[in-house]
């Protein structure tokens, strides 16, 4: 888009690109902070979109799906090989497809997995703790959530490696589109085969098992069982939504801690503070930039929006808003009233949020238990990426052994 649509006040147009602008991508949270001058502005990038910058407005947009539809929730419009249910649905259809997943991700279900998650994470950290250095993405931030996903699917943990490599290529090999497509097809073929084998067991063959597909095989939507395509859609959606996001959260968490020995020391001395610290690290490093489509002409955040307009809902803009949080750009490990929007709000609140925060907590605890002090490796560079999920591609750290 080279000029703004006629209904957009030209004085509200800003040069803003959270996908590829190198300055933004190098420090995306500072980039969002710098964009917060106006309550709302319009970017011409990727077809044009509004950017809400205040927590109150972003929360309200999340909470009003009748005005802000999820049928296209990415900037630019993403083409997934499967239907992204329930992400791309609006109420009431959304609730029908969210409800079968809910028991898998409730706080008690997630808490029951803690011993298994701790063992997975501890094993990964044990493998590199004596080395004095590692590249954290390869050593922990990618294999940990991938292995957890494999465990939740009820597969042997040795399968994690296959998923990890395909997932990374599918999401990040921007310079090699055929490889991305092939990696996506490989994941789908694997999940398709898995779903077929589980369906052969039938719902009655899943009694007492709580892996993802067994729970979904027992579930009902509109009084009927889910069909093969729906089961595959769920598996693929969880794969897309649950692995790369946790990898990114772990990466920013450990980058932040590596740069702040004072924070590491405090968490080592006060391990009981870790759950609160996780919330603060999520707040200060909210990675998800989702979008909505305006359903009818409306005045919102003081501007005229028209049906079809895209609106960026950047969780970092909401969670680092000075009007919502005192010292919003500081990291306050024991912050009270931390009602951040790192997991969004409204009916689409991240269903994996309780699992994600548990994974971040366990990773901090298990790493600091073995490596109580670490730093960025000197002379190495951190490589980051922007877009719908902010992330880091390489994070070399070192420590004394």
């Amino acid at each position: 888009m080279s000029t703004a649509p006629v209904h957009v006040d030209p004085t509200l147009v800003r040069a803003f690109d959270y996908h590829t602008d190198p300055e933004f991508v190098a420090d995306p949270f500072a980039g969002f902070d710098a964009a917060r001058g106006d309550r709302v502005f319009f970017s011409l990038a990727h077809g044009g979109y509004w950017v809400l910058t205040r927590a109150d407005d972003i929360r309200a947009a999340f909470q009003h799906p009748e005005l802000f539809s999820s049928h296209d929730f990415s900037i630019p419009t993403n083409v997934f090989p499967r239907t992204m249910r329930p992400l791309a649905l609006d109420p009431p259809e959304h609730g029908k497809y969210r409800q079968p997943l809910a028991p898998l991700f409730s706080p008690p279900s997630v808490a029951r997995r803690e011993p298994e998650l701790r063992e997975i994470c501890g094993g990964l950290v044990d493998a590199f703790a004596a080395d004095g250095r590692c590249e954290l993405l390869e050593a922990l931030a990618r294999p940990f959530p991938t292995t957890v996903f494999v465990a939740m699917l009820g597969l042997p943990l040795s399968e994690a490696r296959t998923f990890e490599q395909s997932n990374h290529v599918m999401l990040h090999a921007y310079d090699d589109p055929p490889a991305r497509k092939a990696a996506g097809a490989q994941i789908l073929a694997y999940l398709d085969d898995l779903v077929t084998r589980r369906e052969a067991l039938g719902a009655d063959g899943t009694d007492g098992t709580d892996d993802i597909l067994s729970v979904l095989l027992r579930a009902r939507v509109d009084g009927r069982r889910l069909d093969h395509d729906e089961l595959l859609d769920y598996a693929f959606m969880l794969f897309i939504a649950g692995l790369d996001t946790v990898t990114a959260m772990l990466s920013f968490t450990f980058q932040c801690l590596a740069e702040r020995p004072d924070l590491q020391r405090r968490l080592v001395e006060e391990p009981g503070l870790v759950p609160q610290a996780v919330e603060e690290l999520l707040r200060s490093h909210a990675i998800v930039n989702t979008a909505r489509v305006v359903t009818e002409d409306v005045t919102f955040a003081g501007v005229e929006m028209v049906a079809g307009d895209k609106v960026l809902l950047a969780t970092a803009l909401a969670s680092r808003d000075e009007e919502e949080f005192l010292a919003a750009t500081d990291i306050v490990l024991d912050r009270d009233a931390n009602r951040h929007l790192a997991f969004g709000a409204g009916p689409h609140r991240c269903i994996g949020s309780h699992l994600a925060r548990l994974e971040v907590r366990i990773a901090i605890e298990e790493l600091l238990r073995r490596i109580p002090s670490f730093r960025l490796a000197p002379g190495e560079s951190i490589v980051a990426h922007g877009g719908g999920v902010l992330g880091i591609d390489r994070l070399p750290i070192e420590w004394d052994v």
């Binding site: 809910a102 008690p108 009233a337």
Partner: protein, 67 residues
């Protein structure tokens, strides 16, 4: 002191429960099971922290009237 949870706004963040699990009870999939309850003595601070932690702003604190 009472807490009032607008359950139509609850989206299952469970941050109130994380602050005061004995007060902000959850249903079996993690959404609030509480509408309007009296806060037991000693839980007032936890009740306030739980309300303030709600990302949806769905929880109101009603302080007891001063006699």
């Amino acid at each position: 002191m009472r807490v009032q949870v607008d359950r139509s706004r609850c989206q299952g963040h469970a941050r109130c429960w994380a602050e005061a699990p004995d007060l902000y009870l959850l249903d079996d999939v993690g959404y609030s099971a509480v509408d309007d309850v009296e806060v037991p003595p000693g839980l007032e601070d936890a009740a306030r922290r739980g309300a303030a932690a709600c990302p949806e702003r769905a929880i109101a604190i009603v302080e007891a009237a001063v006699p």
